[in-house]
């Protein structure tokens, strides 16, 4: 297999957890049972792989941006497919717009980042590692952390969404963060 193509595939694979994390952030937890972030991400990576010639960027940042756009399209498609029973063209349109807005917004944020390129690179790397570390946490710890720290839900909201007590949620957060720190530390050590 062509060396360049192989390298590109490895790059894409690296982004898998990052994309899964973004997909989870975008989807309501109640959808998680019905719509698997993993499936959507798999479709995304397959699309990216099939269309890799179309990607003209050079940096990893550009690659991630490109992948986020593809993810947004696939998420919109998946949710639309799932919600096929609820016919509402206007809502579907606003779903897509909302998703694309989110993807563009994240790009906008990263673009507006006034820190130096090396700091940006570092942060991007951290995001990729964060995603990989989150993937290794027990499900309930990961969910609690994502809902509270990444989505900004209050502890009460998290408790309600997870069907646990607030006390239990705090415990999950504490233990989860601890484990997360350890995983990131270990990843750093490599």
């Amino acid at each position: 297999m062509d060396q360049a193509v192989e390298a590109r595939d490895v790059e894409l694979e690296r982004c898998r957890e990052y994309l899964r994390m973004l997909a989870r952030l975008q989807l309501h937890p109640r959808l998680h049972g019905k719509l698997d972030a993993s499936d959507v991400v798999q479709q995304t990576l397959l699309s990216a792989h099939a269309n890799r010639d179309q990607f003209r960027g050079k940096t990893e940042a550009e690659l991630l941006g490109w992948l986020r756009q593809i993810l947004a399209n696939h998420l919109a498609g998946a949710v639309r497919h799932f919600g096929a029973g609820l016919r509402d063209v206007r809502r579907e349109h606003s779903l897509e717009t909302g998703l694309e807005e989110s993807a563009v917004r994240l790009d906008g944020w990263l673009a507006a980042d006034q820190s130096s390129p090396s700091q940006q690179l570092m942060r991007q790397e951290l995001h990729l590692r964060l995603a990989e570390a989150l993937a290794q946490l027990p499900d309930d710890q990961r969910l609690a952390i994502e809902l509270h720290h990444l989505k900004g839900c209050t502890v009460a909201d998290v408790a309600e969404q997870m069907g646990r007590t607030k006390n239990a949620v705090v415990g999950l957060l504490f233990r989860g963060l601890r484990k997360l720190r350890q995983l990131l530390h270990d990843a750093n050590a490599d």
Binding site: L106, Q114, S116, H127
Partner: protein, 351 residues
């Protein structure tokens, strides 16, 4: 064995209660000093310290990602009819703002502030109109996602400066209500000013051509927006149609523009007066030992009554710190810097 296990479980449960009450206090804007918590629960000192460190750590990583979720991720919150979202048949009714009758889109809470809508975007952060729960009022909230990436020393410097700025009390300086961070999202709450920045006004003036018939449109009410490039071109209301608040701003713009094109002395007088007001505000700040460091049209606001406000005191340090490289970047926007500032000699910057 089982007794020991039960005791550990009980202890963990008590610790969780302590942490929970801390988190809930943060959520309503009444977070106690961390020091206080450590003093009150010495038996949990080690865990508390660890907890704070972990929270700070995740904050540094997570805040730009939070923006993705804040911006209305798919079905993250119960949706209003005009908002992207996914309704389940058994879902709760959409959350509407307690204040307004109409279903305003709530983007999510930061501390005790409930974000209502975005009103501007600048290099440093986004400005939202927000609702302050504890005081039942609308404020402008500037969210600073990259503040979390600062190291503790830089952060301390920024906080000191922002606190000094917050002590300023002057008719033409935008009061600061709160500077805090919550789960990594640093924010800066200040008085909401209905109006627009001079940068945006200048932008409009440049675009406006008196010979072209004015098309109906709106001028966005900007507050604290540091957008150097101004909002997208919004056409002016015809002067005759000026009726409500937004159009008052348009009327100001039109009269500015007319006066300018006619080279009326009143135009120059008005400008001179604005500059004088700004200078007086800065003088007041200097007397109090606070230097703005980033005065530019984007940080000078004109409210609907025609009053000038200076905003974003204390934020310049943040901007520079976040962008600082080893080679040392310049504070402030180059075009508006004083010679002393440009030459980067420490301790000599006085405006």
């Amino acid at each position: 064995m089982s007794t020991e296990h039960a005791t550990n479980a009980e202890r963990e449960s008590r610790l969780n209660d302590v942490l929970l009450s801390y988190l809930e206090a943060v959520q309503v804007g009444k977070a106690p000093e961390r020091r206080q918590l450590l003093d009150r629960y010495p038996e949990f000192a080690a865990e508390l310290r660890e907890f704070f460190t972990l929270r700070d750590q995740i904050s540094r990583l997570a805040s730009p990602l939070r923006e993705v979720a804040l911006s209305g991720g798919l079905a993250g919150e119960p949706s209003a009819p005009d908002r992207p979202g996914f309704d389940f048949p058994d879902d709760r009714a959409p959350k509407t703002s307690a204040r307004s009758g109409a279903a305003s889109v709530e983007l999510g809470p930061i501390g005790e502030f409930r974000l209502l809508r975005e009103i501007g975007r600048g290099g440093m952060g986004v400005v939202y109109e927000a609702y302050q729960t504890s005081l039942n009022r609308r404020v402008a909230l500037k969210v600073l996602p990259f503040a979390a990436a600062l190291d503790p020393k830089q952060l301390a410097r920024f906080q000191n400066e922002a606190q000094a700025a917050a002590r300023l009390h002057h008719t033409n300086i935008v009061p600061v209500f709160a500077i805090s961070q919550e789960r990594g999202v640093h924010y800066y709450a200040m008085q909401l000013i209905d109006g627009q920045s001079l940068a945006s006004l200048l932008d409009e003036l440049r675009r406006h051509e008196p010979t072209r018939p004015a098309r109906p449109g709106n001028l966005e009410a900007l507050s604290g927006a540091g957008a150097a490039s101004g909002p997208p071109a919004a056409a002016l209301q015809p002067p005759a149609a000026a009726a409500h608040a937004v159009e008052t701003s348009a009327a100001q713009l039109v009269s500015f523009s007319t006066e300018r094109s006619l080279r009326k002395s009143s135009f120059f007088q008005r400008i001179a007066q604005l500059i004088r007001t700004a200078a007086e505000a800065l003088e007041h700040a200097h007397q109090a030992g606070v230097v703005h460091r980033d005065i530019k049209p984007a940080n000078l606001l004109l409210d609907l009554g025609g009053n000038l406000w200076v905003t974003d005191f204390g934020l310049a340090l943040l901007q520079s710190a976040a962008g600082l490289t080893m080679t040392g970047e310049l504070l402030g926007t180059l075009r508006y810097m004083s010679p002393e500032q440009v030459s980067a000699r420490r301790g000599q910057v006085d405006h």
